[in-house]
């Protein structure tokens, strides 16, 4: 008998777990090595750490602002609000803020580090491109990101990577005022170590980001019970994206990591993708749709 009991995607969970464990190991080893080298580096790490986290907590509003999005209330977009409310009810989430960005590029993203500070943003282009069912699918995908706390997970995952990156960029600057005997040479080693950490963690984080997208697709499709609608939404977003003028794309390129489908900007390479290929995502959704009918 057909039913709504879905098979768990253990492969995806496993890959996600392995990636996170590898990141964790990398970070622990990194801290140990740096500690071994010298303690002064740790002061820099702590300094950058505070800086990064402060930035993170301002970034909720920043993400909306950089997209030119503004929060809208129910009187302005009643349909969008009600649609989101029902989906939240299904996803067992309090209703997030809803924002709309005036842009022809059809896209959506979710921000916020906690359930209470979260917001879902859609572009006017998205609402024009998709039908109700597809829009529902996309919003459910974003709600799944909120439910899975992906902003927080990715922030924690990238935390040391960001510091390593800052070390590579500005480490030399600190080197000039090296503390005590170990001075400049020590900083050079720290910069090299940071470079290695950064490169490895970059690859791992991108992989993790792709797995989270698959998970949000799954979550979204199970919230609406309609994997086909999300698949067709992804397809039309992808198609429109290819037709949209280049200028729009450049404008939004830096927001890529947050988007439902990132804008393609030349060849970034498979391992550097934050999102899996749309084809693969649609394939996964088709599997879910099949499960629904068997």
């Amino acid at each position: 008998m057909a039913s709504m009991e879905w098979q768990a995607d253990w492969g995806l969970r496993g890959r996600m777990l392995v990636t996170m464990v590898l990141l964790g190991v990398l970070y622990v080893v990194a801290i140990a090595v740096l500690w071994e080298l010298f303690t002064s580096v740790l002061i820099i790490v702590v300094f950058f750490g505070i800086f990064t986290f402060a930035q993170v907590f301002y970034s909720d509003k920043l993400a909306l602002k950089s997209m030119g999005a503004r929060e809208v209330d129910a009187s302005e977009y009643p349909q969008l609000h009600r649609m989101t409310e029902r989906l939240c009810q299904q996803a067992d989430l309090p209703k997030p803020k809803i924002a709309v960005a005036d842009s022809n590029v059809p896209n959506a993203f979710a921000t916020g580090h906690s359930k209470d500070s979260s917001a879902v943003c859609v572009t006017t282009g998205l609402m024009n491109t998709l039908n109700d069912e597809e829009l529902e699918g996309v919003i459910a995908h974003e709600l799944a990101h909120i439910k899975n706390r992906d902003v927080m997970v990715m922030t924690i995952a990238s935390f040391l990577s960001t510091i390593a990156f800052l070390m590579v960029r500005y480490g030399m600057f600190f080197g000039g005022r090296g503390r005590g005997g170990r001075g400049g040479a020590g900083i050079l080693v720290a910069v090299l170590v940071s470079l290695v950490i950064w490169v490895i963690s970059f690859i791992l984080i991108r992989a993790l980001s792709r797995y989270r997208e698959f998970a949000a697709d799954r979550g979204g499709a199970l919230i609406t019970g309609n994997p086909a609608a999300l698949a067709s939404a992804l397809r039309s977003i992808d198609d429109t994206m290819e037709r949209t003028p280049e200028t729009d794309m450049r404008e939004q390129a830096e927001m890529n990591a947050f988007f439902i489908i990132p804008i393609k900007k030349g060849f970034i390479g498979k391992i550097a993708r934050t999102h899996p290929q749309t084809e693969k995502r649609i394939e996964k959704l088709q599997e879910l749709e099949r499960e629904l009918h068997t």
Binding site: M4, M16, Q90, L143, K147, A215, G219, G220, G225, A228
Partner: protein, 208 residues
């Protein structure tokens, strides 16, 4: 639960788990005593309407289950006089609207319908059960004003919903309902989950 939730979030299955969690229809029976308190202590009497809201799935299996519910409720109509009507609202959600003179028949029918859907393994599609009440002279509100108790299947909790014209909520009334019925019903304590269910036109029921 905290640690368990964190693990689910870390694995990215939080959304999946919440969307597929099954519902427990037994909580619905809480309503069959709560309505007495509503009338005796607050002056709100049942209008004789209740409704079950769920999202549809495009599959043959799901349609079979809905047909089964229809058959059960049609049989019930002959026994108890409970009238059932199937509707779809402008958001594509399905409603089973029930009408009965006896409130306990209403509760039983809502329970029957939701239990059949859960048995058919589509329990995760159940959104809410809504019970309608209206103010009598004793309520200290405008007579005939509608208030609702909404049971959220996802949360397993109840919350009051007192709509005012122009999509506003009468928070004073909701507060009163919450204060008096809390304990008798498992009232949702996080107001962030008190989702409104606005009707398509003001003044009518959420399912209209």
């Amino acid at each position: 639960m905290g640690l368990f939730n964190s693990i689910k979030q870390a694995l990215g299955v939080g959304a999946e788990a919440a969307a597929t969690r099954d519902a427990d229809p037994e909580d619905l029976f809480g309503m069959s005593t709560a309505y007495v308190t509503m009338e005796a202590n607050l002056g709100y009497r049942p209008t004789g309407d209740a409704a079950l809201c769920f999202s549809a799935v495009e599959s043959a299996g799901f349609n079979d289950v809905v047909e089964e519910v229809k058959a059960i409720l049609a049989a019930g109509e002959e026994d108890t006089g409970t009238v059932a009507e199937f509707r779809e609202d402008s958001y594509g959600y399905r409603w089973i609207v029930l009408e009965a003179t006896d409130f306990e028949d209403l509760v039983t029918s809502v329970h029957f319908a939701s239990d059949t859907i859960i048995e058919g393994r589509y329990g995760s599609r159940l959104l809410a059960a809504v019970f309608a009440f209206e103010a009598t002279e004793r309520a200290g509100a405008e007579t005939g004003q509608h208030v609702y108790w909404v049971y959220s299947f996802r949360r397993g909790t109840y919350y009051p919903f007192a709509p005012k014209p122009r999509e506003e909520r009468n928070e004073r009334v909701e507060f009163k309902l919450e204060s008096v019925l809390d304990g008798e019903l498992t009232v949702e304590d996080d107001r962030g989950y008190w989702y409104p269910l606005w009707p398509d036109t003001t003044g009518s029921h959420p399912w209209e």
